[in-house]
């Protein structure tokens, strides 16, 4: 039985005697409505006149006051339905009516595309194309005016772009880029960085353990040790890479995120060098007017340790929501490499000194592009990504 026939029978005749039966019937109607709508959209129209006619016809079929399908449903299912079913039928009918808003002529007209070729003429064209191809294969001339294949252009991920900007600044200063494994040993991730098992600072990182001796690295710092072992001093490197923490994802946390570590070791590196380099870096990234501020902090692998804040790039230091009215935004941690860490890397702290920093690339990208949710970076939504 077609939908047209069904809407002209009563619920009793159709065997719908309970809520489930009614819901099933309405489901069929909604499916039919959707299917007819999509068919029209797929078909297209070859002219505005044809489009308007097709839309109006479809609309009238469903929504015409006198004989439209909805009117029939109202007559046969609602008015003539069993009393106990009336509330369910009424609810379902209202849902249907709401859904049918998309069947109004002007709504349909907006989505029905104008195609030079309707499906009828498409069949003709593809037959023509087939014979063209055959002719071309035989050596006959093919249609040189047919457009070539076009591929959509992609772009770099905003986090990648941010990472490259950062890399660029340091490459220009003479640093080179090192990387290390994302699956790291507890030794390189903690012990070699002066974070012993028995010290509470071990708990400052919510670590993802693979087994008792292997972790997903919680920071890019382990590569400091690896690089020291590999190259010794002097050393000027940055280390970009992915890091992992057992964080519940929210607007400012993601279990996977990106960091860039920086390390400079030579015979005469001082805290002044650290401040100077980071101030230079901040100005290159955020503009000459931006100011940096250093405040004392603590990391087991640097001594002394600091946190760097930049003058708020949104309000210029006046105070706003982003900088929590303080005029400053905390952006990264840094410090002088702890002598024990140098020793662990095979470098004599009596002969050499160094500075190190670590920053979150995602956080920097969020600041630079004014994005307030880190999770947007990792959802692979092209509508977001294509904006960069």
């Amino acid at each position: 039985m077609t939908i047209d026939e069904k809407v002209r029978k009563t619920l009793a005749e159709l065997g719908a005697t309970d809520a489930a039966g009614v819901e099933a019937l309405f489901g069929e109607v909604r499916a039919a409505m959707e299917q007819e709508r999509s068919s029209l959209v797929a078909r297209g129209a070859s002219s505005e006149a044809e489009r308007d006619k097709l839309c109006k016809d479809l609309r009238d079929r469903w929504l015409a006051r006198k004989n439209g399908l909805l009117t029939q449903i109202d007559e046969h299912w609602l008015k003539l339905g069993a009393k106990e079913l009336k509330p369910i039928v009424g609810r379902q009918f209202n849902e249907l009516r709401k859904a049918s808003a998309g069947m109004e002529t002007n709504e349909l007209a907006q989505v029905v595309p104008l195609r030079k070729e309707t499906s009828a003429s498409m069949a003709q064209l593809s037959a023509q194309l087939e014979s063209d191809v055959i002719r071309a294969e035989r050596g006959d001339v093919s249609d040189l005016t047919l457009p070539g294949y076009r591929r959509p252009l992609g772009s770099l991920h905003p986090v990648t772009q941010m990472q490259r900007e950062i890399e660029e600044i340091f490459l220009n200063l003479g640093f080179w880029i090192e990387s290390g494994p994302e699956i790291e040993s507890v030794y390189y991730n903690f012990d070699a960085l002066n974070i012993p098992e028995s010290h509470p600072s071990r708990d400052d990182w919510d670590t993802l353990y693979i087994n008792s001796q292997t972790v997903l690295r919680t920071h890019t710092s382990p590569v400091q040790i690896r690089a020291m072992e590999k190259y010794g001093a002097p050393l000027y490197i940055i280390i970009p890479g992915k890091c992992y923490r057992h964080d519940n994802p929210d607007a400012s946390h993601s279990p996977m995120f990106h960091q860039v570590e920086g390390l400079a070791i030579a015979s005469d590196i001082t805290f002044a060098d650290l401040k100077g380099t980071l101030d230079f870096f901040a100005k290159k990234l955020f503009g000459e007017k931006v100011q940096t501020r250093f405040q004392p902090s603590f990391f087991p692998f640097t001594e002394p340790s600091g946190e760097v804040a930049i003058s708020c790039i949104f309000c210029g230091g006046e105070g706003c929501r982003v900088c929590k009215e303080s005029g400053w935004i905390e952006v990264m941690g840094c410090g002088m490499v702890h002598p024990q860490v140098l020793r662990n890397g095979g470098i004599d702290p009596e002969k050499f000194s160094g500075w190190a920093f670590g920053l979150g690339v995602d956080r920097f990208a969020m600041l630079k592009y004014d994005i307030n949710d880190i999770q947007l970076f990792f959802q692979s939504d092209v509508r977001f990504l294509e904006q960069f």
């Binding site: 098992e197 010290h199 509470p200 600072s201 405040q295 902090s297 603590f298």
Partner: protein, 266 residues
């Protein structure tokens, strides 16, 4: 850690306004995230990094400020009224595993009615986000917040043989902690035991059985101390807190208890 400015002023003269205080503390390494008025007081939310356990108390922060502002650090006056016989006659303390605990002290307080704490104490605790329980528990909490030294109160009458033995647990020994959870113990756990069985997880959480109850009872304070931060002790304590999951609501003072105490600082 939340710090009350009025409380701080008991130990050091602070003349700067709270916002200046917030900035000053931040610039000496105690990053202060917020300062908010609470009644006639101001409360600062100070981030104490793991290298500064000495600042996990009002006295500790006051010490820093005294140095910064070049003001004298005032020690609170102690009024101690002793009576009755020596504590050692009513209870004994033995340390069976001195590598895990170098010092353990206790005192007995008698004839105390367990009940709600006085208003001034409740106000101070609540201002810094601590939950008042009863006068005895609150007193231990107050001392912790003031001096940074964790205390525990036992019901003396429930300490069998009136003995306290600081020792490693025997595997399989039973202990139900204050939060009602039965803890499986191993030789790696240091416990406070009485003459018969464990009554507390040393440095972590007290047992349910010897908990102070709402009745008139003499009870024993205990103070756990270590004259040096011994690795073995630290490892044991950390291993303990990691393997035995303790909900932070069940042990709000766990953070303080992670540090084997440097008693000489007070």
């Amino acid at each position: 850690m939340k710090i009350s400015v009025n409380w701080l002023k008991e130990f050091v003269d602070v003349t700067s306004d709270p916002r200046q205080l917030k900035s000053d503390l931040t610039m000496i390494g105690l990053n202060t995230e917020s300062c908010a008025p609470v009644g006639d007081d101001w409360v600062l939310d100070v981030e104490v990094t793991t290298n500064r356990p000495d600042c996990l108390s009002h006295y500790g922060v006051a010490r820093e400020l005294a140095t910064l502002y070049r003001q004298p650090l005032k020690r609170g006056e102690v009024f101690l009224k002793e009576s009755g016989g020596p504590t050692s006659a009513a209870a004994t303390i033995e340390i069976a595993d001195p590598d895990l605990c170098a010092r353990y002290c206790g005192r007995i307080v008698q004839k105390v009615q367990v009940g709600p704490s006085p208003d001034w104490l409740v106000k101070r605790l609540e201002a810094i986000g601590q939950r008042p329980i009863n006068n005895v528990a609150d007193a231990t909490n107050y001392v912790l917040m003031e001096l940074g030294h964790p205390l525990h109160a036992f019901d003396w009458s429930r300490l069998r043989q009136h003995k306290i033995i600081v020792r490693r647990a025997k595997p399989g020994e039973p202990l139900r902690t204050l939060d009602g959870v039965d803890r499986p113990l191993t030789r790696d756990n240091l416990v406070i035991a009485d003459g018969e069985r464990p009554v507390a997880l040393a440095g972590v959480m007290g047992g349910e059985e010897s908990e102070i109850s709402r009745k008139l009872a003499p009870f024993c304070w205990r103070v756990r101390g270590s004259s040096r931060c011994r690795s073995a002790a630290r490892r044991s304590l950390r291993g303990c807190t990691r393997k035995l999951p303790i909900a932070s609501s069940g042990a709000p003072t766990l953070r303080w208890r992670r540090w084997p105490w440097i008693a000489s600082l007070i």
